[in-house]
């Protein structure tokens, strides 16, 4: 059964058909939530909420890219979660120094002795990128996640965030500039082909 047929069946209340769509897109949705929120547990909750909201609002899907529609929902869910965190800040479990500032994330202190070297490098690079993404304003982060990580074009990204094309263009350029500066701090983690020749 193709995607359109599954969507049609799901619209009629066929949960099994919808769950097949869930299985097809859950990695995309979770990955996006994780890149925007920067936390596996929050990303998990956001992904689940996204699929529930998608099923309940399937009648509002007007065709087009189902992936883009899901990414729009997960982006809004992430915004909601970040707003909620702003209203009710959660106490960080990260260790803090004497002045109350968080010391370097324990992610960096993990013991990777049992992992293959390539895996370790990939993990560290992934964490370095996530660290730099977390430093960005959320609006920039969302655009980078949509265009550079999900591989969407500007028009799709603009549709997802509900903003003009020029806004996507501007946010993406400024985000890339900030990321370039941030990633310089992880020079040694980058593969030779990716090292910035500065």
């Amino acid at each position: 059964m193709d995607e359109i047929s599954l969507i049609e069946s799901a619209r009629k209340g066929d949960l099994d058909a919808f769950n097949r769509l869930v299985l097809a897109y859950q990695d995309v949705v979770y990955n996006h939530a994780y890149r925007v929120l920067g936390d596996p547990q929050l990303a998990d909750d956001a992904a689940q909420d996204t699929f529930i909201a998608a099923f309940n609002n399937l009648r509002k899907f007007r065709g087009g890219s189902f992936k883009a529609w899901l990414l729009r929902i997960v982006t809004n869910t992430c915004y909601d979660e970040l707003r909620r965190q702003k209203r009710r800040p959660i106490t960080s479990l990260e260790p803090v120094d004497d002045s109350g500032d968080e010391i370097e994330s324990p992610h960096w202190l993990m013991d990777h002795a049992d992992l293959p070297e390539d895996q370790v490098e990939r993990d560290e690079l992934g964490r370095a990128i996530q660290h730099c993404l977390d430093e960005l304003p959320v609006d920039f982060r969302v655009v980078v996640a949509l265009v550079d990580i999900q591989g969407m074009d500007y028009a799709e990204a603009a549709a997802v965030i509900g903003a003009p094309l020029g806004t996507v263009k501007s946010r993406l350029a400024r985000a890339r500039l900030r990321l370039r500066d941030c990633l310089q701090g992880f020079w040694e983690l980058l593969p030779a082909s990716m090292r910035l020749e500065i």
Partner: protein
């Protein structure tokens, strides 16, 4: 060293990387990239940054996010047997009540008929006064030989009744004093409770009167009651189990 360029140039370079720049701007920018070293360096830095971002390891979902009916508040789709079982349980319960009431009614009717038969038999005895040998004899003759001991037993059971005369020869006949009025007699007959040491109407009447036992109809009713209770309980339990399973 970090290249310093304007935001406008930065946006143009970023869009150029993604192929999202209009053709006329593209030509202009390509020409500038050939001539402006700083702009070219900024372009390379952006290109490499983009390459790093696009090589970001894809994080896989830690679990399946498939939905259950409960998550989306959907009513579970129950099999067709659920309404059938539910209806069967309700109908069986309703029929059981009807049959039970009918059973009770019929049983009461039979008891009333038996009592009336006993009373009429006893009244006959009273109205005849001391029964003559001729009147009693046919009754005795009609009694099978094996019931003679019963007759003796019923005679002895009538002994506690107050009497001033010799016992009558009629089986189960009550003793009546000459002073008794008909109303007294009836009171004595109707009011004497069996548990007070007096014989039951059937015993009092004796084997000469046919006692009505539960007929085949009542037995069928009892059977129907048992079957209906089993159907009601069985189908009801099955429906409840099905309902609970659907509620996860």
């Amino acid at each position: 060293m970090t290249t310093r360029i304007s935001n406008r140039d930065l946006e143009a370079l970023s869009a150029y990387l993604d192929g999202e720049i209009p053709t006329d701007q593209k030509r202009t920018l390509e020409a500038r990239l050939k001539s402006e070293e700083q702009l070219n360096q900024a372009f390379n830095e952006l290109r490499q940054t983009r390459m790093i971002l696009r090589s970001t390891p894809r994080v896989r979902a830690p679990r399946n996010f498939t939905l259950t009916p409960r998550m989306v508040g959907a009513r579970p789709v129950r099999p067709w047997t659920f309404p059938v079982l539910s209806m069967a349980s309700v109908m069986a319960t309703f029929l059981f009540i009807l049959v039970f009431l009918g059973d009770r009614y019929i049983t009461q009717q039979q008891q009333t008929v038996s009592l009336m038969a006993a009373q009429s038999a006893a009244t006959e005895t009273f109205t005849l006064g001391a029964p003559s040998e001729g009147a009693v004899q046919p009754m005795i003759e009609s009694v099978p030989p094996e019931t003679e001991s019963d007759i003796e037993g019923s005679k002895s059971k009538t002994a506690p009744l107050p009497t001033t005369e010799e016992p009558t020869t009629g089986p189960g006949a009550l003793q009546v004093t000459p002073e008794m009025t008909p109303s007294n007699r009836e009171m004595q007959l109707g009011a004497a409770p069996p548990e007070a040491g007096y014989p039951s109407p059937a015993e009092a009447v004796g084997p000469g009167v046919e006692i009505q036992r539960p007929g085949a109809g009542v037995i069928y009713l009892r059977l129907a009651e048992i079957i209906l209770v089993l159907i009601a309980l069985g189908s009801g339990t099955a429906a409840i189990i099905m309902y609970r399973k659907q509620r996860f």
